[in-house]
């Protein structure tokens, strides 16, 4: 066996990785969450609650299939109710995962290393939740494949000039590429788990998924190229997806929707809520599994800073909407703004301003950015705020358009709430299972970080 248990590379400590870590300690610590640890009480409680919500979701969806969308509060004029609010909210949450894994990778931000894996998982699960809603909203969800261009006996094609059809392509491409990117990133780590697994089933399952990865230099070379290029593809993709979602609204002539600011403002809002979700997930994760050496206060602080920046862009979006509504001199646009702030749904607008504009301003203070409980609370508030934003955009614009004779009100029903909270349960159930069966932090990238921060790399360059 090995001659001496020497470890040459020891991390010297930085604000993104605690000192004293070697390849072995990093690997052991990350794999132990999957291979050694027993499922603790917090995990079991979490799974219990999430699984109950999934049962609620199943019931809500089954009843929907039975009775149709009439069980929801939607009507004419408010044909897009919770379903589209939830769709936009979930897809936005996913965006921070791709932002972290792709854009920060392209910009050589080393701090992304320990949070990219679970952020990508978050993206996948959020896209899965998002994808349910437009399909459930179809009326006849079992005919969902009519959305796709395929040779059919009806001799029909989708209307390719419609942003709603662009959305089908954007979201399905986004889901597929996110999955591929995530899996490619996982392959070397699956090999590590294969080599460390002690159970027969573990060896077989991880071995199967690792595809026979052995760390060959030739393989690493192609792997690195492919990973870089996938990051380069995912970065513009993430911008395009929420821009297309923004155009779903902007292409309509409805006051409150028909605005060129929508695509950029939607992208910023998406990343804003996504970073909030990263914090909501990272804070319990590092606490429950003792990963504070890897997910440091610096990571949380950086997420908070990005939340502040994107939050300011979103606040600018609100201001621009109100200002241009007034500047246009258009009766309908001006009324839309007044109605949004003082009409029947004024409370949702106040909650939105409180959550998305006022609360993030606390992040200007370093003490708040480094206070973990405060960040957790702010992250939840921001997510509520971003959900409210979509509610305000969709419901208050639709409910009073041009003619008072066609005005209406929207009241969500029990089934609306059941579906929303059901998908929240589904998201957390997926995430909790993920944490226990796959490495939540990239092992190979962390080893590379240990190498870079050990001083080994400098000697080599000299």
């Amino acid at each position: 066996m090995s001659a001496t248990p020497t470890e040459i590379a020891v991390s010297r400590g930085s604000d993104v990785l605690a000192p004293g870590h070697t390849y072995t300690t990093v690997t052991d610590k990350i794999t132990s969450v999957v291979l050694d640890r027993k499922s603790g009480v917090p995990w079991k409680v979490g799974v219990g609650i999430a699984a109950m919500l999934v049962i609620v979701l199943t019931a809500a969806v089954s009843y929907l299939f039975l009775r149709g969308v009439g069980i929801w509060g939607i009507n004419i004029p408010i044909a897009w109710g919770f379903a589209i609010v939830n769709f936009v909210w979930w897809i936005g949450i996913g965006h921070a995962g791709t932002f972290i894994s792709a854009m920060l990778y392209l910009m050589y931000q080393e701090w992304r290393t320990s949070i990219n894996r679970f952020a990508e998982a978050m993206t996948l699960f959020a896209v899965a939740c998002a994808g349910m809603f437009p399909l459930l909203h179809l009326g006849r969800p079992w005919e969902f494949f009519w959305l796709l261009p395929y040779p059919n006996t009806m001799w029909l094609w989708p209307q390719f000039r419609s942003p709603l059809v662009w959305d089908v392509f954007a979201v399905s491409t986004y889901g597929t590429i996110s999955l591929v990117f995530w899996y490619v990133g996982l392959i070397p780590d699956l090999a590590t788990l294969r080599d460390k697994a002690r159970t027969f089933f573990g060896k077989i399952a991880y071995g199967f998924l690792a595809l026979g990865w052995r760390g060959s230099a030739r393989h690493w070379q192609r792997y690195q190229t492919a990973y870089l290029l996938l990051a380069g593809l995912a970065a513009p993709l993430v911008v395009s997806v929420h821009s297309v979602v923004g155009m779903d609204f902007a292409a309509a002539q409805l006051p409150g929707w028909h605005s060129t600011i929508f695509p950029p403002y939607f992208v910023a809002g998406a990343i804003f809520s996504g970073f909030a979700m990263v914090l909501t997930l990272a804070i319990p994760l590092r606490w429950a599994y003792g990963l504070k050496d890897f997910i440091t206060i610096r990571h949380l602080e950086n997420c908070a800073k990005l939340m502040l920046v994107t939050g300011l862009i979103v606040a600018y979006g609100y201001a621009a909407e109100a200002f241009y509504g007034w500047l246009s001199g258009n009766e309908f646009d001006m009324y839309m703004n007044v109605n949004r702030m003082t009409g029947p749904y004024w409370l949702t607008y106040c909650i939105l301003i409180f959550c998305n504009v006022i609360t993030p301003q606390t992040l200007w203070f370093r003490a708040v950015r480094r206070c973990v409980p405060a960040l957790f609370v702010i992250s939840i508030i921001v997510q509520i705020g971003m959900w409210m934003e979509r509610f305000v955009i969709i419901i208050t614009s639709l409910h009073r358009d041009f003619l008072p004779s066609s005005w209406g009100m929207y009241y969500p029903t029990f089934w609306d709430y059941a579906t929303l909270f059901g998908t929240v349960g589904f998201f957390f159930l997926c995430f909790l299972i993920f944490v226990r069966i796959l490495p939540a932090i990239s092992i190979s990238e962390m080893c590379e970080l240990v190498h870079k921060q050990s001083g080994e790399g400098h000697k080599e360059a000299a």
């Binding site: 066996m1 261009p149 591929v180 070397p188 595809l211 760390g215 690493w220 492919a226 593809l233």
Partner: protein, 179 residues
């Protein structure tokens, strides 16, 4: 039916990146051609040391993207102009700006799928069995140790000389890899 040479090669174990890179360079300079380095993460400088050729992954991405983009664009042109033309207030049927978003998405989809699967295919995956897995110590290649393997099919390979050569490279140990 025993093969003439029942051994895949010799494998040396190292505990640091620098030693692996130095060893790979020296092995190349000593004239070994059929060799491979195995590491738990992508090691900078190893490509040069092993004199690996540039890979063709970017080309596959490019071809996949071109295929996806052309498919997306011409599918829409065919649908809107030939198969199912709808006259909406006399607007042009060939409204190409409206086709761009889907063309873009399918370009990304084509490039990403072709590139990712192309990379796996060029690497020969799935490849469940490989002789290097027979060495018990090799489990560490995915965790903390670095390995250099010289294959017995190398023209310069000689069991004793190669073993002595690998030992001289600051390795922790040298293992025989059964075929």
């Amino acid at each position: 039916m025993k093969p003439a040479n029942p051994m895949y090669g010799l494998m040396a174990e190292f505990d640091s990146v620098e030693k692996l890179v130095a060893a790979a360079r020296q092995a190349r300079e000593a004239g070994y051609a059929r060799l491979d380095a195995l590491a738990p993460f992508a090691v900078e400088g190893l490509d040069d040391a092993l004199r690996l050729p540039r890979n063709r992954v970017p080309l596959i991405f490019l071809l996949g993207g071109i295929f996806g983009g052309l498919t997306g664009f011409f599918m829409q042109v065919y649908s809107c102009c030939y198969s199912y033309p709808i006259n909406v207030g006399g607007r042009p049927l060939y409204s190409w700006p409206a086709f761009i978003p889907i063309t873009f998405e399918l370009t990304i989809l084509g490039a990403g799928l072709a590139g990712a699967f192309g990379m796996l295919a060029l690497n020969g995956f799935p490849h469940p069995y490989h002789p290097v897995f027979n060495v018990p110590q090799f489990d560490l290649a995915s965790q903390s140790r670095f390995f250099l393997c010289i294959e017995s099919s190398d023209p310069k390979f000689d069991l004793e000389q190669t073993r002595a050569f690998l030992r001289s490279l600051q390795s922790l140990d040298v293992y025989e890899v059964p075929a």
